[in-house]
Amino acid sequence: MGWRARPGPRERASTNAPAAQGSLRSLATAALAPALQPGRWSRVLIFLLAVPVLAGIAAYGYQVANGLEVTGLNDDVFWGLYTVNLVTLIGLSYGGALVSAILRLTDANWRGPIVRIAEGTALVTLAVGALFPIIHLGRPDRMWEMFTRPQFDSPLLWDMVAILTYLLATLLLFGLPLLPDCADASQRSDVSGWRRRLYSWAAADWQDLPEQRRILRRSMTILAIVIIPVAIMVHTVLSYAFSLTSRPGWHSTIFGPYFVVAAIYSGVAVVILAAVAYRRAYRLQRWITDEAIRRLGYILVTLGVAYGYFMFTEITTEGYVGEEAADALLYVMMLDRYAPLFWTFVALGLAIPTLLVAFRRTRTTTGITVAAGLVVVSMWLKRFLLIVPPLTQPLFGDAIGGYSPSWVEWTITLGSVAAIPLLLILLFRVFPVLAVHEMQEIEADADARSGQPIVVTSVGGSP
């Protein structure tokens, strides 16, 4: 295993126990470095990110005061950047949760350093993404009517239910594995005050007893099993907001799985970006190894190929029949008004990332990070192409609609983009960025499989 420090954290009954304890302490210290030794640049970064976030909040206040007419939305294009952001961010979240759940269920032994970052990313992207249906309302106070006057026939109601359910599941996915890590952290001599109180509460009397380990392992298995269908449900229901509408470009049976694959594709990309950023910022190369990034790169490219396949199937099916409205839509998207965006997506979102991971020379951490960055941006572009062009095509008559996002929409969008790293930084200013306990367990399992005796040691105490 790549992150493995020699000798293993569950120390062998041998003479090198002190060295192993030191190794464990350094793992625990590394996991809490963003919280306990954030560095001056961290504050600068928080400030730099807070500026666009505050600008976004101010723009939203302006929109609430003046109504949706300050946006570029109109009678034809009634869903714009806000819906694009909603679909994109929920998708990013979905990828993080699925990476964590699938890697746990398949017992992938390289998951250790990745899962906490994946779960944190899932949580913050979902928290930001879930705001967009509210931002999109001209009268946000009417959100309450979703509860008081629910329309059970509407996909939008079920969207809300699915997102809230997924938020709860993601919170648990992030929170439950924190029990042992918080117990470790609460024992550290350099942790005091509110942090110690928080960690002690979150630890729930964790003493690393075999019974406690068994309970946690069982709960995490159940949660990992539950969260996969929940996450699929969320994105499928989100796709229903489009596919249950009688509109060319949207009314498609493939939309459920199409959305799901798109979500995991962009989600894995954002996990790669977050992992690489933390690895670089806090010198976690020893734990978040090149090997782990490379494996995530393989998953990324596999999903990219799958997404390309779905896109090809959708376009071929619609285009071959030659139905007039579908023809017109494909024409504006691939050859006319939106062609530059479409072909940019094909190049930057599908072709280049695949090539970067396919060739050994570019299959480096840098190459995979570039691929992931391209995927995140391109998938946002693809959601724009999915939502806006179909709305510009007239259902009656022949007047083509148009949409030009206003400065309010752009400011809120930029604010939400900045909010994700900001919240992630704040989250890991509190909680350990690495799943220390899980990494130890994986290591111990590997040792047990190799037939070497292990002895339990503590990593509590000073760093």
């Binding site: 079920w158 359910t165 709860l168 929170g175 024992q187 964790w206 709960s219 009688s246 503590s458 509590g460």
Partner: protein, 207 residues
């Protein structure tokens, strides 16, 4: 200039302006107020074009209390909808012509549609509104998506689905919240049992 003379000038100017307004108003008359003019009357109707594909027009004829048609007045139209409860949703505005008629294009979703027309009032007539159930020919009714009124062979399944899905969601929430609660509780219970059995206090956590 000292402060006192400036104040005198200001007071004098105010008095002159006020007196001018009062005198002018007395000579040419005060602007008529809407309530003085009496309520206006709106009458709703439908005009269907003989040419296919042209939308029907909803008309509202505006007259004052004496029955004289009013031109150049803005009339707002809305239709009764059932979106999160019954309410009227705006469908457009139009200005009355020389015959006092304001009209808008309107594709109905049903053969019978409740339309409200509203006139806010001005110096010629007071505000008024009228609601009427207008009848449209069946061939101009536009159905863009499945509605409750359309009979479906899948009705039993459609009726059951919300209950089934609601049940599943509630079960899922119970499972998730229960899982979190049970995990914390079982973890604490195990620690307490350990302390009770062995008399061992909390030990440092970790590996």
């Amino acid at each position: 200039m000292s402060r006192r003379p400036l104040r005198r000038v200001m007071v004098a100017l105010t008095m002159v302006v006020t007196a001018s307004v009062v005198v002018t108003a007395s000579v040419i008359g005060w602007p008529a107020l809407a309530q003085d003019a009496g309520p206006a009357v709106l009458t709703l109707g439908v005009e269907v074009s003989p040419i296919a594909d042209l939308p029907p027009r909803v008309t509202a004829t505006l007259t004052d209390a004496t029955g004289t048609t009013l031109s150049g007045a803005t009339v707002s139209f809305s239709t009764r909808v059932d979106i999160g409860g019954e309410r009227f949703a705006s469908i457009g505005r139009a200005i009355t012509n020389s015959a006092g008629v304001a009209s808008i294009n309107f594709w109905p979703r049903d053969e019978h549609v409740a339309i409200k027309a509203r006139y806010a009032g001005d110096e010629h007539a007071g505000s008024t509104e009228a609601v009427a159930e207008l009848d449209f020919p069946a061939d101009v009714v536009v159905v863009t998506m499945p509605t409750h009124s359309r009979h479906s062979l899948l009705e039993p399944i459609q009726a059951a689905m919300p209950r089934v899905v609601t049940g599943l969601v509630v079960a899922l929430w119970i499972l998730l919240i229960g899982l979190a609660w049970m995990t914390r509780r079982a973890t604490k219970h195990a620690a307490a049992a350990q302390a009770g059995a062995g008399g061992i206090g909390p030990m440092p956590a970790g590996g």
